[in-house]
Symmetry: C3
Subunit: 158 residues, 3 copies
């Protein structure tokens, strides 16, 4: 039997949407799908290291770098963000219900061999360097995404 | 000929996005697709009854319950919400053009045998109980979604 | 070999999301996919001409027409819009990196024979007339979208 494939474009930089992406990805990997998460635009923030990394940047790239959340744990909610209160509430109920926080979901994705790909074109635009992203990320463009997606059973844009 | 399948994840709690989801779902059902709408996170609000239901909840769950819109008719717009004016404008022009409001689209979906599924994991997180959701909803997790989606022709995340 | 098909619903009226839609569409067209972008709700704004067109409208339709961005170049960002500063920043870094601005991406899509379809039902709702949209657009409803999507390999909702 042919291996099924799941390809998720993670465009959003929202904590809750990224959670949904990784829960679906990890579920699909557990069902033996070949799974790829292709992060682009604000979704790249989920792959950022949580500490500032010393790289040379232009002025606008520096500004983007400062204004965007540094890593999964600092991302806001798509809804009811309430100046940061929303994520705290969600994380609190998640803890209570033993649900995995986003950084753990990303760690689990790696263990399950979910392929994490960062879109090089939007990294350029937002001034993000490889040194600033997590270890174990692959780098590619829209052509690589399409080559996977045209063979995929479950293709989602999140 | 094999029955085609449409699987829509309704993540968004926006009136206009939920409208799009149900218009596509009802269209696909009219074309003899097997259709499932899997509501998760804020999308669950479309399945809420419009009256408060007396269930026992913790503090945060109570807060979420109060802050989130109680049912399809009370949801806001993803764009130009204008503190609630946007939905009124949209509903006004919809009436003028004889377009179905969201609660009617949901009713029609049920008549067309669109399977409405509530994500149990996010119900837990947001503190939503079965008693608070519409009749005729099914309850499942990401595994059930994936089992359907991997056989689907049209898979969308809304 | 059968021609692969990519079908993108462009629901969002955000500059960055529309960019993503057209970059994927143009990429897929370059890989010989048959590509359709079906614009609905706020996504229709990407197809608007940038000048006011004299058409007869009711009061609410006039208001929608004024409040919504007139064409691709005037759309805001989904994230970090900062009252219009965000798009300026993005366009600045795009220029620096020789990335195509959205109106050029749309022009390229036309050259690559990407089928641009405007959803007639939501045009009615938002009071948009054919005269207000770009040349070369086709007009259809959800049935036409579904007929394409059920044969598609890459179906996305953006």
């Amino acid at each position: 039997m042919e291996t099924k494939k799941t390809n998720i474009i993670l465009f959003s930089g929202d904590y809750d949407k990224a959670m949904a992406a990784f829960i679906i990805a990890n579920g699909a990997a557990a069902y033996d799908h070949e799974v790829t998460i292709f992060a682009t635009f604000w979704g790249l923030n989920a792959f950022r290291k949580d500490q500032p990394i010393d790289v040379k940047k232009g002025f606008l790239e520096k500004m983007f770098g400062k204004m965007m959340p540094r890593g999964a744990d600092k991302m806001g909610l798509s809804n009811m963000n309430f100046a940061g209160m929303g994520p705290k509430m969600i994380k609190h109920v998640m803890k209570k219900h033993n649900a995995m926080p986003l950084p753990d979901l990303i760690g689990m994705a790696k263990e399950l061999d979910v392929k994490l790909v960062a879109c090089t074109m939007t990294m350029d635009l937002l001034g993000l360097h490889k040194e600033e992203l997590l270890e174990g990320i692959e780098y590619a463009g829209v052509a690589a995404y399409l080559a996977g997606a045209e063979e995929g059973q479950v293709n989602l844009f999140i």
